[in-house]
C-alpha cells in the first residue's frame, strides 16, 4: 500500500539515512524510533511529500506520490511537530479551518463534539493563546476524529499529553487500524495499548 524504496535523506552536510526501504499494509502501524536528529521528522515529511528525497521513491498503491500529487494528499492526514494552531483563533475555529484545509468540511456541532471527546469541552470558544501546550496538542489531534483520510502521518503525537489523553489517542489509532487505515508515527514513548499492529523502524543505527 505505502512503499518507500531506497530513500536517502541529506540535511545540510549530513546524510541522515540512505537506502531506507519499507512497506506498510492496511491495518498496520509503523513506529519510527531513534535518537534526536536521526531523521524521523524528515522521513515523515518525505512520506507526505513536503520534502523530496535525494534518492529513492515513495509509492502509494503502486504509483509514485509525485505523480499522484493532490490525489495522494487527499488520502493522508499529517500532524506535524508544530501544531498549526493559531493563537488568535478559538479552538473551534482552529479545528474547523484545519479540517477544511485538509479537505473535510466540518459543521459546528460536529467540531464541538470532537473537541469534547478530546477533553476540551467548555473551552471551544477560548482563543488558543490561553490554552496550555497539551491542550493545543489536543486541538490539533481533534482533527483525527473528523478526517476520512486513510493514511495518518503523526510526528510525536503524544508529547505534552497527559495519561488519559495518551490512552484516548491510542484508542483512536486502534480504531483507525481496525477500519483498515495506515499509521506512521514517531514517538519516544512506547505505545501501551496492546493490539496495535505495531512494526518498529529504527533510524540512526
Amino acid at each position: 500500500m505505502l512503499e518507500a524504496i531506497g530513500l536517502e535523506c541529506v540535511r545540510g552536510d549530513r546524510r541522515l539515512f540512505r537506502d531506507l526501504s519499507f512497506g506498510l499494509e492496511p491495518g498496520r502501524l509503523l513506529q519510527v524510533v531513534g535518537p534526536n536528529g536521526c531523521g524521523k521528522t524528515s522521513l515523515l515529511r518525505m512520506l507526505c511529500g513536503l520534502m523530496a528525497p535525494v534518492h529513492g521513491e515513495i509509492r502509494w498503491e503502486g504509483a509514485s506520490i509525485r505523480s499522484l500529487a493532490e490525489d495522494y494528499l487527499a488520502t493522508l492526514t499529517y500532524i506535524g511537530h508544530l501544531n498549526g494552531v493559531k493563537d488568535e483563533l478559538t479552538a473551534l475555529e482552529n479545528l474547523r479551518i484545519s479540517s477544511a484545509l485538509g479537505g473535510t468540511h466540518v459543521d459546528e456541532p460536529a467540531a464541538v463534539s470532537a473537541l469534547e471527546k478530546m477533553g476540551l469541552g467548555g473551552r471551544e470558544m477560548l482563543p488558543a493563546k490561553v490554552l496550555s501546550q497539551g491542550q493545543r496538542r489536543r486541538v490539533a489531534l481533534a482533527r483525527l476524529l473528523l478526517t476520512e483520510a486513510k493514511l495518518w502521518l503523526l510526528d510525536e503525537p503524544l508529547t505534552a499529553l497527559d495519561k488519559a489523553a495518551v490512552a484516548f489517542v491510542e484508542s483512536l489509532l486502534a480504531a483507525h487500524l481496525e477500519k483498515g487505515g495506515l499509521v506512521v508515527l514517531t514517538t519516544h514513548q512506547d505505545l501501551q495499548q496492546p493490539g496495535l499492529g505495531t512494526r518498529r523502524l529504527e533510524l540512526g543505527t
Binding site: 513536503l50 493532490e70 490525489d71 493559531k86 484545509l101
Partner: protein, 222 residues
C-alpha cells in the same frame, strides 16, 4: 476549489481583524511617509503638485512591501503553512486566497487613504480619481509580486531587508505606469493607455505569480 479560496480568505481576514494594530501600522506608515516629503522639499505648491503621484506611489510601494512579512511567516512558524501545502487542492488556490486577503487588509486602506493624501498636495479632482484608479489596479500586483519574495525569504535571517532587495526592482513597472497615469492625465494626454497597461499587468500577475509563489513555498519548506 472556491470553497477553499473562501476559507483561506475568511481565515486571514479574521486573523487580521484580531490583530488590528498590524493593519493600522502599515496605513500610518503610508500616511507619515507621504506627509514627510513636503517637509523635506518645502511647501511650494507647484513643485508638490508635480511630485504628488510619484510620492504617493513610492510610499504605497514601501508600505505594501513592509506588510509582506506578515503574509506567510506566522503561518510558517506555527506549522499552518505545512498544512496548507498538504491541502488536497492546487497550492495556487491557497496562495491566491492569502494574497487576496493581504491586499484587502493592506492594499485597500492605501487606496482609500490616497485621495485624502492627494489633497495635501493640491491635486485636482480628476487627478485624484486617476490616482485612486491606478492604485486599485496596481496594489494587487504589488501584493502578488511581493508574495513571491516573501515565500522565497521564508525563515531566513535578515529576511525583511532581503525581501525589499528582491521585490523592489520588480515593482518598477507598476510604479512607472501607476505614477505615469496621474502625470499623463495632468498634462492632458489621457490616462487610458496607462490604466489599461496596469490592468494587463494585473491579469498577467494573476496568471503567473500564484504559480511562482507556490514553487517558492515548496522550496522554502523542503
Amino acid at each position: 476549489m472556491l470553497e477553499m479560496l473562501r476559507w483561506v480568505i475568511r481565515r486571514d481576514l479574521v486573523l487580521a481583524m484580531r490583530r488590528r494594530s498590524d493593519v493600522l501600522t502599515t496605513l500610518f506608515f503610508f500616511i507619515i511617509v507621504v506627509s514627510l516629503f513636503p517637509l523635506g522639499v518645502g511647501p511650494e505648491m507647484n513643485l508638490l503638485r508635480t511630485m504628488a503621484p510619484g510620492v504617493v506611489w513610492v510610499a504605497a510601494l514601501l508600505a505594501s512591501m513592509l506588510s509582506l512579512g506578515r503574509l506567510f511567516s506566522s503561518d510558517y512558524l506555527d506549522g499552518t503553512l505545512e498544512q496548507m501545502l498538504l491541502a488536497p487542492q492546487p497550492l495556487s488556490i491557497v496562495v491566491l486566497g492569502k494574497v487576496a486577503a493581504h491586499w484587502l487588509v493592506s492594499g485597500v486602506p492605501l487606496v482609500v487613504m490616497a485621495p485624502v493624501l492627494g489633497l495635501q498636495y493640491d491635486l485636482a479632482a480628476d487627478a485624484l480619481l486617476i490616482l485612486t484608479a491606478s492604485l486599485v489596479l496596481g496594489t494587487p500586483v504589488l501584493s502578488m509580486i511581493g508574495a513571491i519574495g516573501a515565500a522565497l525569504t521564508l525563515g531566513l535571517r535578515g529576511g525583511g531587508v532581503l525581501v525589499s532587495l528582491l521585490v523592489l526592482p520588480l515593482y518598477i513597472p507598476v510604479l512607472i505606469f501607476g505614477a505615469g497615469a496621474v502625470e499623463a492625465s495632468a498634462s492632458g494626454l489621457g490616462a487610458e493607455a496607462y490604466l489599461s497597461l496596469l490592468a494587463a499587468f494585473l491579469v498577467g500577475a494573476l496568471v503567473l505569480t500564484p504559480w511562482a509563489t507556490s514553487a517558492a513555498l515548496r522550496i522554502s519548506l523542503d
